[in-house]
Amino acid sequence: MTALPQTTQKKLGLVIDLDICVGCHACVTNCKEWNTSNYGAPLSDVDAYGAEPMGTFLNRIHTYEVKQEGCNAQTVHFPKSCLHCEDAPCVTVCPTGASYKREEDGIVLVNEDRCMGCGLCAWACPYGARELDQLAGVMKKCTLCVDRIYNENLPEEDRIPACVRTCPAGARHFGDFADPESNVSRLTAERGGMELMPEQGTAPVNRYLPPRPKTDIGGENKIDILAPFLEPVVNEETTQDQPGGFLGWLDKALEKI
């Protein structure tokens, strides 16, 4: 049923730390690997070795450059997948009832046995989080690895989404936003976790931790913590007129001749 639940018992989601992400695409790869062989139809590739390869991915990494006037530019790697919005427009537009938001944990899913592949939900999502699989003709999206997180056949440390499990930098965190003491709630509170495009009114669950401001060694009055250690040992300007040490002695000795 494509009516949204009034509230959900849990609000499972991700915190993505833009300060830490190095843009290695490991989460993208592990996401594709896990999800192509588990929940629903495989994530197909079309023309994989041809001139214009195209494939279905549930998570993609953009890389942005942010530049403030007078400062050096800063690179920000930006992973993007479904944000499991509380007021998910993708769910309410669905005519078939294939798209739904779970009352128990807030995960937004597609029931592929009902999806007719009209693509309207992908149009309704502001974030580009839904992709119509070109071979299966059904809508694919992040499931928050619903088939891992409750899976008792997996060792306990693997019962988190594949992207979080694999991130070598520790830039991704999984937890329950409904619990104010959870890891994700605390990170969001401490670091000012932000919503993407809040003006769309989707109330995304996932939060992004903003990159910490970078020290700008290029600008004026900017402190470079390494600078004192890299100072020249001999300051030529003050020593030029009266060189000390051996040179000073030589200088004086030669002058006397």
Binding site: R60, A122, P126, E199
Partner: protein
């Protein structure tokens, strides 16, 4: 947005078909027997043909039957239900006029109202989308309804009212272009709000996530062809209403000029509908630094 032929044909033809059904429902023209058959045949061919064209857009049409289930929340589902109910009600009305020489007036009025409601639901599929600011306004529904009523009047041969409506339609279409051009800016979405990085400075895309286009870009970041939009607007703006009105008024009425008027109107309709999709900017384009 990608101007897929299936959705252009769907919205254009079914709009015309339900527009014609509206006029037939209120008894203009009041025809019986074979001429009623002709009129209803055209209306059903357009409405059903349009609906069938829309299924060409589906990735998995075998599940299309489920599309009638979510009318409580989904405009697309409401559109499906409304069009089937309308076609059924009008079928009974049509049988009366074709075979029984009877006009079930109440049924006709209900069918006419349902026809307009169906066109309204079609418009809401687009107008509801906050992600496409150009569509996300009341005028979108006004435009779809005016197209249906004006085009329907033309097909129904209600020349004197059609002339007025076609001119109104032309004005509405220009108003939609005017308002639409400002919508994205008014909605206030930028690459900075999309990424949340605005407080750190000016944002630009350094590297896209993939080297060749993906589904999102093909479907929603359609930027080709916008360069022709000015020319197409002129073509659409003139042939939608002005040319048909001139043909209907300036020339003595004859079947050829009437057919030409319809042909011009449809040319304008298709051009305008192509622009409706091609010019619509989806906010996801912001993540790709494109609109």
């Amino acid at each position: 947005m990608h101007p897929a032929p299936s959705v252009i044909i769907f919205t254009s033809l079914s709009g015309l078909g339900f527009g014609l059904l509206f006029w037939l429902g209120i008894g203009y023209p009041e025809v019986y027997g074979m001429s009623a058959f002709g009129m209803f045949f055209v209306a059903y061919a357009l409405a059903v043909g349009g609906l069938l064209a829309s299924t060409a857009h589906l990735g998995n049409p075998k599940n299309a039957i489920h599309a009638f289930s979510q009318w409580r929340t989904s405009w697309l589902s409401r559109e499906g239900v409304a069009s089937i109910v309308t076609l059924l009600v009008m079928a009974v009305y049509a049988i009366g006029m074709i075979f029984l020489g009877q006009r079930f007036q109440i049924l006709g009025w209900i069918g006419a109202a349902l026809s307009l409601f169906t066109v309204f639901t079609t418009s809401m599929i687009y107008a509801q989308l906050k992600t496409v600011p150009r569509w996300n306004m009341r005028l979108t529904s006004v435009m779809f309804l005016t197209y249906a009523v004006a085009g329907g009047a033309l097909l129904a041969g209600q020349i004197s009212i059609a002339v007025v409506l076609l001119l109104v339609l032309t004005l509405v279409q220009f108003a939609v272009w005017q308002a639409g051009d400002k919508r994205f800016r008014e909605a206030g979405h930028t690459i900075e709000t999309a990424t949340g990085l605005g407080n750190l400075g000016k944002v630009r895309l350094l590297e896209p996530p993939h080297t060749s286009p993906n589904y999102l870009m093909k479907e929603m970041v359609f930027t080709v062809g916008r360069k022709h939009s000015r020319k197409l607007r002129m073509i659409a703006g003139v042939s939608l209403g002005l040319l048909p009105v001139i043909l209907l008024y300036a020339l003595p009425f004859n079947p050829i000029s009437a057919a030409l008027a319809v042909a011009f109107h449809m040319l304008g309709l298709f051009a305008a509908r192509w622009l409706f999709f091609a010019e619509a900017e989806h906010v996801v384009g912001l993540y790709y630094d494109k609109r």
